[in-house]
Amino acid sequence: MKHIQNFIIDFGWARIIIGLFLLSLFILAPVADVRIDTSISDTVARFGMACVLVLAMVPMIQSGCGLNFGLPLGIIAGLLGATCTMELELKGLIGLSFAMLITTVFGTIFGFFYGKLLNKVKGSEMMIATYVGFSSVAFMCMMWLLLPFKNPKMIWGYGGSGLRTTITVEGYWLHVLNNFLSFRVSESFVFPTGMILFVLFMCLLIWGFFHTKLGSALTAVGSNPDFAKASGVDIDKMRVISVILSTVLGGIGILVYQQSFGFIQLYMGPFYMAFPAVAAILIGGASINKATITNVIVGTFLFQGILTMTPSVMNSLIHTDMSEVIRIIVSNGMIIYAMTRVNKARQKK
């Protein structure tokens, strides 16, 4: 019994409830005559789409900047990368990798200034990150209207200036990762190996980063800034690096999302995109100042599992689509749960 006790305290009640909830959905699926293979194919696809966005949370949590509610800033870097590449009419895998290159450039610039700002407001980073995210999205809404894009597939039909709200990536890099080495598991389940491999490669990259000297210094800044300062680590520099990494990953994450989803969502698209990513990593077991790659993978799988399963199972069982309400309650409930546990951890020390 003691062992279970420790497991519960360590894993946290909220995560257990969510885990059981997802399990029950999978069990109920056949009862609600929902095809198991389509659900799993959906979950795997959505896992691939969201995983890098959740991975983007890790660097900032590790360095003690807290949960990155300013993810939209990274997403904007990704959108700029995508739109510029489409403007240059680059297609296929080259197009996608070029987009990633531009995104990395924009992401580094945005991340640098965003990191500098967060260093000035130590202690209330999350609130300011939220509003920096919101204001940058609102600002970009204006920019999408003003930036001189010419590609007819992107601008409004009747020759007006300004980009459409959603731009299809058809013919550019739609499913370019998904179809790479993809194989058909069952009649309606095609395994997107390319995307999953790319995502796991990114996870490996970040896992490796945290094994280097720079990565260990960054972790130390997160768990005890005074210790890091005493050991000669330049705290502010580490925090800026973590923010840049997080912003670039956010950009790459949205590119991976788009190539599978099929559309680039501009204007208010990225407005609320930070919350599902934050909720996912918390469901995976991360805390406000400690996150591992396993948290990312477990959290993304659990969260996306719930998002895919609730509509199908719920619909057939009680004929109402409650999935939107459940998503809001689960993701925001999880964030509040993590916020209230911060003090518990501090009291323990």
């Binding site: 094994h211 280097t212 260990s216 972790t219 768990s223 005074d226 005493a230 330049d234």
Partner: protein, 532 residues
Amino acid sequence: MTTSGPLLQVEGVSKDFFGTNVLSDINFNLEKGEILGLVGENGAGKSTLMNILFGMKVISSTGGYSGQILFEGKQTSFKNPLEALNSGIGMVHQEFSLIPGLTATENILLNSEPTRYNFLTELFGPRLSTLDRYEMQIRAIAAINKLGFRLDQDMLVSQMPVGHKQFTEISRELDRKNIKLLVLDEPTAVLTESEAQILLKSLKTLASDGIGIIIISHRLSEIMDITDKVVVLCDGKIIHTSKTSDTTVDKIAECMVGRSGVLESSKAHAQKEQAQKEIILKVENLWVDMPGEHIEDVSFDVIRGEIFGIGGLAGQGKLGIPNGIMGYFESGGNVYFSGKKCNLGNPREALDQEMAFVSEDRKGVGLLLDEPIDWNIVFTAMQTKDQFLKSYLWGLIKWRDSKAMSKVSKQYINELEIKCLNEWQHVRQLSGGNQQKICLAKAFVLDPKLLFVSEPTRGIDVGAKSIVLDTLRKINKQKGTTIIMVSSELEEMRGICDRIAIVDKGKIAGILPADSSSISFGKLMAGVGETL
């Protein structure tokens, strides 16, 4: 109702924390209108005595105390500080508990403001009554006048000079309705000389109004000139109590510090003959802005290969010296390390010049509690000297070399006898003694030329203490590392150091060879000794 008996009688009070005896058989009493000076080194039991008097939870939660305390002849034991306050005992702590944004009046009357009744209090409780600003003004002025100090009661505390803050805090206690006994903990620590004189004079006027006063202070000159009676505490026992007029500063200083007069035999090595006399560290007018351990203007030299001690009472600034030089806190002045001037304020530069520091704040600065032991030991060396790293792609990627890390951790675990399951155990689960050994190991891995060690033996078991001290001696003898040890355990320092500097009120009161008499050390600590 002025009872003829003494205001406060403490009879046979003793207290132990988990077996270690902190107070044993304390007896003294205090008459109305009498001022008693309570003197003693750190850890002598003064604060525990006060906690008992005020019924702090820390006492009742650790098994209460034996013996009894009579207040105005009645047997009392207060369950919490509020009860003590209501029955007329006020306490002024060392660090201010004032609200910066409120005026002096509002602070003096905090949570005991006079109010005017209105109907809503019937419904929602007394806190909806409005404040009677006029009445507050009167009570504040009355409390301030009791002190005889001209204080503007409408000024915001945030704009007040430090002295005024102290007077505001004292007048808050005086405002209590039936204040009979006032306890002050180091009241003059933050005051200038003139403000201290005014405070002492006003305390005298309070005493003449019949209020009993207990002053906890180590400024023997002030104790001598204001108190009627002196009680000297040492290691939980009263070893000297008498009328102030019958005793002298030397007597008090000697009792305050000297345990056994004879030095511990373990100080084997005779006074090291400083042949080469080369100065490794020269410090000139160093100031350090460390909260609670402020350094005004300190200058001293340390000879290569020496074990240099820095002593002094808590809050006088001794801890500020290593923290300032290592760049943990804002500091200024000139510090020359083996001849080269180093600029202060950046820990990296100090570490690059082969200086290492074992901080007094183990959990806060010294350790990564949620990381394994090998991480903690190796981290600083890894960051500053690129040790324990395998580099690939011509040094582009520096990968943690976990094999080298666990090898060096195993080596120090055996050498320092660190009791742990393995080198991957999280440091949070280890005992205080083992954690301190890990901090030491972290510094030794850097193989520094100069090692600062701050409060190395505080809060650790006796076994660990001797290992820590022996290792420091061994390092100093074998590798010739100069060690600067900051500690409040004067006896330990006399056993291991060559010379000891005493810090008082942010300045060096004096530097004495380790084997000089305890009286001279006591007087330096009490701010009355003459510097060497």
